[in-house]
């Protein structure tokens, strides 16, 4: 054997590959993280455009722009794209970038799988978006895909199922990667309870993903065989049960909502201590609270189904279990407030987004508590009250946390400070418009407006107009975000620590973070100080 061929010289500092190959074949956690984040932002705008179509049509009563069938396609695709294409990949992107840096690992544990789990996503969403141009249009039965309605989808149906399978595959691989990385590749003296909260919440989220994504895959596969292979899992005419789909779907769907919020809790738990210049209050109880939420998320699914006709005892069980979630969620909110209490706060953009998160997520939590009350839920169910509730927890909840995280770590990624003034304008515009959009929806729901309707009675006209104005304002505000990102490299040089109060291993490496970091595990002493 030619020894020269295997005598690869030890390369100290090889940079990224040149050209498109750097991205297509990347196994670098930072590059893959960047791709996830850019992909997510792209999907956020595509899903956002669909929201603009929805809100334009709903601005005044009467049908002005689209037909009801297309309206239903828009609501369905908006949800699928925002949930699976925007929010989930954004958190995976943040995890890819930050988890190795926060635990002192050189990369993710399974870099090739990391590449694959990213590159499946553009394929999955390419397939999903292509259904817009198919005979019969894209799926229009709601993102929940309830049979028998979803079986009336046109040519798009098998493509919908296949793209959901691919999204699940990507999520499962991403989750495995995160678990293996966190369990095996921490700095030598970083015990589990010394891990930063973002790593903790992602570890718990990853277990949730592994537990429920296969359940979703199973549910949609049963839809596929019902449609094409003469099974009757969900078809009453063949002895099946349409409600069984809802049980299976929400057994996935409820943990899914915590998949979208737990990493947000993690991001906010990093940022509030930094800008309060004070350690996170009750770190361990935050871990236990997140674990409790994760556990409870498996036993509350049927609160989405209080109107399907469940036995009384079943309804009581799911109601009590749902109410219990308020306890650990409350602990988290109280701990954030206690972290701020007697700190020395400053209000840079990441902190502003985090504070808005705490305020507005709590409002979403309140409406969640109201929805838990089963008799009242009979009135709220499938109305705009629910739309208001889940947009409060997802937009000023998850999305604001993602933006907070992006601003917080951007100087570490680019090596430059972003334009703070523009970022603050972005924050205030987003916060004001998000409330103008979603707060009136509470009133619409209570007054009796069902969700997923393209047109409505005139008594709902005024609040709908307000919501539409807010939505267009919110959409335009996000262009500012893109501008701040595009000009991010023009700002002043960022220091290693970036923020005065920042603690953690990610702030011990230079800004921008070199292509390879922690090739040898960080020194115990440095790691220890970083945890303080």
């Amino acid at each position: 054997m030619n020894t020269a061929a295997i005598d690869i010289p030890h390369h100290d500092d090889h940079g990224p590959a040149k050209g498109i190959g750097r991205w297509l074949f990347s196994t670098n956690h930072k590059d893959i993280g960047t791709m996830y984040l850019i992909f997510s932002l792209t999907m956020f705008f595509i899903g956002g455009l669909m929201a603009m179509v929805i809100r334009s049509e709903l601005a005044i009563p009467g049908l002005q722009f689209v037909h009801p069938e297309f309206f239903n396609q828009m609501t369905t695709m908006h949800a699928l794209i925002m949930v699976f294409g925007a929010i989930m990949p954004a958190f995976v992107g943040l995890a890819n970038w930050m988890i190795p840096l926060q635990i002192g690992a050189p990369d993710m544990a399974l870099p090739r799988m990391n590449n694959w789990s990213f590159w499946i996503l553009p394929v999955a969403f390419g397939i999903l978006l292509s259904t817009l141009f198919m005979p019969g249009g894209s799926p229009a039965g709601g993102w929940t895909m309830y049979p028998p309605l979803v079986l009336q989808t046109g040519d798009a149906f098998p493509f919908l199922i296949f793209s959901v399978h691919l999204m699940g595959l990507s999520s499962i691989m991403g989750a495995i990667n995160i678990i293996v990385t966190v369990i095996n590749m921490r700095a030598p003296d970083m015990t589990l309870l010394k891990m930063p909260m973002f790593v903790w919440t992602w570890l718990i989220t990853a277990y949730l993903l592994i537990a429920v994504m296969p359940v979703l895959a199973g549910a949609v596969t049963m839809l596929l065989t019902d449609q094409f292979f003469d099974t009757s899992f969900f078809l009453a005419a063949g002895g099946g049960d349409p409600v069984m789909f809802q049980h299976i779907f929400w057994f996935f769907g409820h943990p899914e909502v915590y998949i979208m919020i737990l990493p947000a809790f993690g991001v906010v738990s990093e940022i509030i201590p930094t800008f309060s210049r004070k350690k996170l209050f009750g770190h361990d109880s935050m871990v236990y609270a997140a674990s409790c939420i994760a556990f409870l998320s498996f036993i509350v699914w049927a609160h989405h189904m209080f109107t399907v006709g469940m036995p009384l005892t079943g309804q009581l069980f799911f109601m009590f279990a749902t109410m219990l979630i308020a306890v650990p969620t409350g602990v988290k909110i109280f701990n954030w407030v206690a972290t701020m209490w007697r700190g020395a706060m400053t209000f840079e953009t990441p902190m502003l987004f985090s504070l808005a998160f705490v305020f507005l997520f709590t409002i979403g939590g309140f409406s969640g508590l109201m929805l838990a009350v089963a008799p009242a839920d009979v009135q709220y169910h499938d109305t705009y009250f629910v739309v208001a509730h889940f947009h409060y927890v997802l937009v000023p909840g998850s999305v604001f946390a993602i933006m907070a995280g992006a601003y917080y770590w951007l100087p570490k990624w680019t090596g430059h400070m972003y334009n703070e003034t523009l970022a603050k304008v972005h924050f205030w515009a987003s916060t004001i418009f998000v409330n103008i959009t979603f707060f009136p929806m509470h009133f619409l729901g209570l007054a009796g407006m069902p969700r997923r309707i393209p047109d409505y009675s005139t008594q709902f006209a005024d609040f709908n107009t307000v919501a539409s104005i807010g939505a267009i304002g919110f959409g335009l505000s996000q262009l500012l975000f893109v501008w701040v990102l595009l000009t991010a490299k023009k700002g002043a040089k960022a220091s290693d620590r970036v923020w005065e109060g920042a603690h953690g291993l990610e702030w011990t490496v230079p800004s921008p973070a070199p292509y390879h970091t922690f090739e040898t595990p960080p020194k115990a002493r440095i790691a220890n100080e970083a945890f303080e």
Binding site: F366, A374, V466
Partner: protein
Amino acid sequence: MIRNTILSLLGLALAGTAKAEWALNMPKGVTDLSLETYHLHMMVFWWCVAIGVVVFGVMIISLIKHRKSSGVAPATFSHSTTAEVIWTAIPVVILVLMAVPTAETMVKLEDSRKPDMSIVVTGYQWKWHYKYQDSDIAFYSSLAQSSMEARRKQSGVDPFAVDNYLLEVDRPVVVPRGAKVRLLVTSNDVIHSWWVKDLAIKKDAIPGIINETWFRANETGTYRGQCAELCGKDHGYMPIVVEVVEPEAFEAWVNSHGAEQ
């Protein structure tokens, strides 16, 4: 539209003193249970307000007082078992206080025994069918013609000029005041949901399954609702109208209906 916009913004500002067209809250409805549901809704709402005042209050005080620009040095505490036990225990107590009356109402809602009359409600894409049990009255109920014309895309008809736009049907359900009416709800195709907010009833109409629910209306009047479960392209166009009339008037309606067929 601009006029509406300005009115909307004004209305938001005056939300506290809003009139009927600015409906802000759940209606009290016309059954004992709709009133109970309303009270449960308000109970949880006021608990949320109380918790919000405390949590946001502390947060706002902190935001004002504990800022670096006012020259404070950050405290170093990061743990307090006492505080954490307290703010775990208090929410548990509040939840128990909420859960007890809620469970009581739920038991009543589910008790559809000994009805005075039963109606089979069947959902279709996109209309409702009603069959009065123990009689030969059965009919479809679809969106009224006036709304049908105005609902078309760019129809040129001002929805504000149509009475009860999208909430009017050709043939309403008629029931007597004070009677316990049991509904047997099912579907012929996809899942629908029968909802009238003033009766505080929403029950999914599911093919292959017959769901049961009931109401007893205390006041005569016309009560409107809509399908509440996405059921395809005309989901927004299958309203429900229930007319509650005095028992004598109901008798007369039954008789005239029989003659009609």
